[in-house]
Amino acid sequence: MTARAVTEATFDQEVLNNEKAVLVDFWAEWCGPCRAVSPILDQIATEHADKLDIVKLNVDENPGLAMKYQITAIPAFKVFEKGEVVKTVIGAKPKPALEADLAAYIS
């Protein structure tokens, strides 16, 4: 399952008003580590679809949201619950390390 894209137009509905916890992957085309970690996020999304929703936000196309959430390094992953950021993870990591970081939301 490929994580779906969200934009500034759909962010409120897909992320802030989502009943589940949502991980937003802030990424860009030019960022090698972002592309490398993308398939790992897709796997986590598939394996934990019941608990955690995973979506992708292209910072190049949605700079307003990148600024709002003070993104200065990518890939950056922010977990939202009830519209609030509850967890931030920065940088591409192997799957076991990412799963450990996200343990509270996927187990």
């Binding site: 490398a36 200065t72 940088g91 076991p96």
Partner: protein
């Protein structure tokens, strides 16, 4: 059991794979899970790789090297090695997903990792104004004032690249001369947005939740002063990635894997090392590629001398005696 497993996916790993695959050894290459392609994946234009007079983008070069390795039968696995068993004629490689692979020979080409500043604030501010990847994060520093720490080619490349976004880029260097190649130095000197701060090192990072500046220490006088910044990029060198082989392979006083003369042979028969992980001095894409070639040829030679039948192959003394005989 396979003939050969290559660990690492930079220029050394993929070049070793091209040679090993063409020798019909059907190599398995463990590329890592998130650092596939190695250091060049985070660079922009590579202008010094022979055969590309117009230059080539780092990621494109690595994609081509991988395609070339796969064209001749290299199998690539996207996972990380978590454990290695190198003694004896059968080498075992355990991956993050639990899979285990066995081979008669290993080429270890894991490259090097970015060196950290070694400051206590580093962890908290990492990703919050402190960055190791200019190509990834430069975009977020439009019209900002930032600094690059370092004096080598990477530092010059990053500083020059970052002027596309930032209004002002300081280069902080602990000496009064640069290690970078002359052409990269000149490009930085000619750039109006770049200002050099010589004989200075970063003593502290300032800012609670994001970088607001640094305290600089003069390396000659010891004097300290603060410099306001929106971001800091670190390019102070790399350290060989050897943690998986500590206590297994001999290292040099510089921390690289020790190899025999101009060969790729480590202290364990059947284990070869190539690229930045054995090279404290040159560390170029093309020297790494050359080093990968050496490792593949050494491994091919070693494999050719092993006893043919699988039963004999499990007897370590026979394999090692054969190895000694051909070397």
């Amino acid at each position: 059991m396979r003939d050969i497993i290559i660990i690492g996916s930079g220029p050394a790993g993929f070049t070793a794979a091209i040679y090993a695959a063409r020798a019909q050894l059907k190599p398995l290459l463990i590329a890592s899970s998130v650092e596939i392609g190695g250091e060049l994946m985070n660079t922009t234009e590579v202008e010094n790789f022979p055969g590309f007079p117009e230059g080539i983008m780092g990621p494109e070069l690595m994609t081509k090297l991988q395609e070339q390795a796969e064209r001749f039968g290299t199998e690539v696995v996207y996972d990380d090695v978590v454990e290695l068993e190198l003694d004896g004629p059968v080498k075992r490689v355990k991956l993050g997903n639990g899979d285990e692979h066995e081979a008669s020979a290993i080429i270890y080409a894991t490259g090097s990792a970015y060196r950290k500043l070694g400051l206590p604030e580093e962890e908290v501010l990492s990703g919050h104004g402190l960055s190791w990847c200019a190509t990834c994060d430069g975009f977020f520093f439009r019209q900002k004032t930032i600094a690059v720490v370092g004096g080598g080619d990477s530092a010059m490349e990053e500083a020059t690249f970052l002027t596309r976004f930032a209004d002002k880029v300081y280069v902080i260097h602990r000496r009064d001369t640069l290690k970078a190649s002359k052409i990269m130095q000149q490009r930085a000197f000619d750039n109006e947005k770049i200002e050099f701060i010589w004989n200075a090192e970063v003593a502290r990072l300032l800012g609670e939740t994001a970088v607001t500046g640094v305290t600089l220490r003069d390396t000659v006088t010891g004097e300290e002063r603060d410099l306001e910044l929106d971001g800091l990029f670190v390019a102070i060198g790399n350290d060989p990635r050897t943690h998986l082989v500590h206590g297994k392979l001999d290292l040099t006083s510089e921390g690289t894997i020790a190899v025999d003369g101009r060969t790729s042979k480590t202290n364990i028969p059947g284990v070869f090392a190539a690229g930045d992980v054995i090279d404290p001095h040159y560390r170029q894409a093309v020297t790494a590629a050359g080093s990968g070639t050496v490792a593949a040829l050494d491994a091919e030679h070693y494999l050719a001398a092993l006893p043919k039948s699988p039963e004999a192959g499990t007897d370590s003394s026979v394999a090692e005696a054969e190895f000694a005989a051909v070397n």
